[in-house]
Symmetry: C2
Subunit: 412 residues, 2 copies
């Protein structure tokens, strides 16, 4: 379907996606926008001009400075607004006077993306990080416990842990190399992390929550999801390895997590559906009716330093053992309440080949090897990394999601 807005210049911000975000400009306070082509559609202004009047819901939810209230309005409302936006923006719209042919309104509500600042799209209550990438899990086992095999629970349930919500930042925020405690020559020591890494992940924002003590049925679970973002789970491997027995990662992870600023609604991803890797029969509470419950979305990873920009990895959201519906069914099985704005992430999305990995830990075998990359551009020069250097810019991109980017700042 084509739009009268113009070319998306390869960003994927076409009519297919229409992701939501929170933006501000020099003249506009933080507000909800929808990405289309090179523009952000100002949803606050559109709402105030009563463009959504035909849809019955609390319109003030679209005038807020986070997406929480709108996300909580439920899928039916999101579908209705999306349909109206599709009609409003499509080349052969029947609503021309509402926007396409209304020059004054276009000036007011179509904001050039290049001049806008993007913010965290939701106020995040709890953040959960899973570990459902089977190739990632196998590689980690091979590195840290060679010959040990995957943990006995690994195929039976989605292994996960609670992450830190306070250090989740919007794409573009610099990430300071953390200091911490790790072991050098068998002695605990304190200093700047020596093994700084990233992790390519995919994450869902919760729209509607569940009450404490209730659980979410696996076949209903998608209705609780508002949409998806790319996520970089920055990791300090030396700190993490030393601290995480027996209770899991802590300071090795809680210093920063970056998300892409645009939340792609669940409705936009139907075309990418795919069957998950199924290795065992699931217990009934995880046995979903839907066959194609995961997504096939490539995520391109690049590294940029003063010498150039390098093509690093190509991961994929399909490299998981469980769907988001299964993650939610498991997470709430004991009655744990989800709240609007909670974030649920997959864990590292490594694939089977060396160029499909999702972190340097795997590519360098915990720093033993160096991973070589080729520059994007005509010169095709090379660089390599075992772990990240200060100044490195790590960027994840996926069509329609925009960019999840962060630069490593030196320790203070």
């Amino acid at each position: 379907m084509a739009t009268w807005i113009g070319d998306d210049h390869g960003s994927g911000f076409t009519l297919d996606f229409l992701p939501y975000g929170i933006f501000s400009t020099d003249n506009l306070d933080a507000r909800i926008g929808v990405a289309i082509g090179e523009y952000i559609l100002d949803m606050k202004a559109l709402t105030q001009e009563r463009v959504f009047a035909s849809i019955e819901f609390d319109h003030s939810t679209l005038e807020a400075s986070t997406l929480n209230c709108y996300a909580a309005a439920g899928r039916k409302i999101h579908q209705g607004v999306r349909e109206l936006l599709l009609e409003l923006l499509s080349e052969d719209t029947t609503l021309g006077p509402e926007l396409r042919d209304n020059e004054d309104r276009k000036k007011r509500v179509l904001i050039k993306m290049v001049g806008a600042t993007m913010h965290l799209p939701m106020s995040i209550g709890d953040y959960t990080d899973f570990f459902i990438g089977p190739y990632h899990a196998q590689n980690c086992t091979d590195i840290f416990r060679p010959g040990a095999g995957l943990p006995p629970n690994y195929l039976s349930l989605p292994v996960g842990y609670a992450g830190r919500a306070s250090s989740i930042v919007a794409s573009g925020t610099p990430v300071r190399r953390p200091k911490g405690q790790f072991v050098v020559n068998k002695m605990p020591t304190f200093g700047p992390c020596q093994n700084l890494d990233f992790e390519v992940e995919f994450a869902a924002f919760i729209g509607q929550g569940n009450d404490m003590g209730s659980s979410i049925d696996v076949d209903e679970a998608e209705n609780y999801i508002f949409g998806f973002v790319l996520m970089n789970d920055w990791s300090a491997r030396d700190i993490q390895v030393w601290e995480s027995t027996p209770l899991g990662p802590f300071n090795g992870k809680n210093f920063a997590t970056t998300i892409s600023p645009w939340i792609v609604p669940l409705e936009a991803l139907e075309q990418f559906r795919e069957k998950p890797v199924k290795l065992v029969k699931r217990l009934p509470y995880l046995d979903e009716k839907k066959e194609c419950s995961v997504y096939n979305i490539p995520i391109h990873v690049s590294l940029e330093d003063e010498s150039g920009k390098y093509d690093m990895f190509k991961c994929n959201t399909k490299n998981v053992l469980f769907s988001f519906a299964q993650l939610l069914a498991h997470h709430t099985a004991g009655g744990c309440p989800m709240r609007t704005g909670d974030l649920i992430a997959t864990g590292t999305l490594s694939g089977t080949s060396r160029h499909e990995l999702g972190c340097l830990l795997e590519a360098s075998r915990n720093g033993i090897e160096s991973y070589e990359m080729e520059a994007i551009g005509p010169e095709r020069q090379k660089t390599s990394r075992s772990f990240l250097k200060d100044g490195d810019i790590i960027e994840f991109r996926a069509l329609g999601f925009g960019s999840c980017v962060g630069q490593v700042a030196p320790s203070v």
Copy 2:
């Protein structure tokens, strides 16, 4: 120091403590109160009647329905308000006309505690649970990995993990027995938890936070703490044991955490200071100048069922390897931001003897033995538990903190 308010009837709500909480009654919306004797002092009403006019700060922080804004005001303000309250309430007050001798005002601002409902005192962003009880850690090791010794990092850093904030509830909220996945006869299965347990903990609420990328100096860290509560970290042991390799506890913990409703300010606990157990020299970032950095506060644990109320354990907040100042210095060492309302807990506070344990896992050696208790009262009948039964009421009490109580509701 005595108060004109009257007897505290053994609750410990004397002038020494003056804890803050959020209460409501049939006639009053949720608001800040201070516990004194059998009463709650209505801080919203007192503020509106300009009783705190002599202290310069944003007085609207005391008119809110959570303690977050007031907690963020900083220690100097809290000290000032506390001094004024001490003067206002002491037997030989020089401020008699302000309250003691003002019958009208007394009627308005002194609310009978027995008729009030207590709520969560803070809006909680992130919740961190540590594992710094050395006797608890040793007992767990003996049960699950006999002969293995403590983890190698255990003495060198405070081991901890992120917990679930959405399922933290105020004392009195029923706790539903969670369903979940665990192993029976070597097969993963799904059903109501068979090994339901509690954990006696002590927790601090953050007052002022730190910026992302900055860290909190160990000798400054107490200034970031608003006050303390008792905490019950309900635990589903069968679920926890199966799920927690390699990333730590998840559904075994995230179904419920209960806190006592009254936050005892840091200032009130000076009299309980004690030296922590020091087993090794700390790295400099954890090496605090203050010697007596932990507290000696007994916590009494009782179990009540239809047959009576039983004296179960007597734990103590001193059974820890690290102070809260050290916990905060470690937690923020890598730049992790604390926010007002974040909750930091010690982990289980077991002591050295059988009657000083902090959970049934230890007392029953993971369900192998039965732990016998004697009833409180003249009949001194006995009962025993390996793990909790439906209907059991678990209560923690400490002088001046009130009660942290929850009843086990059956699975649905």
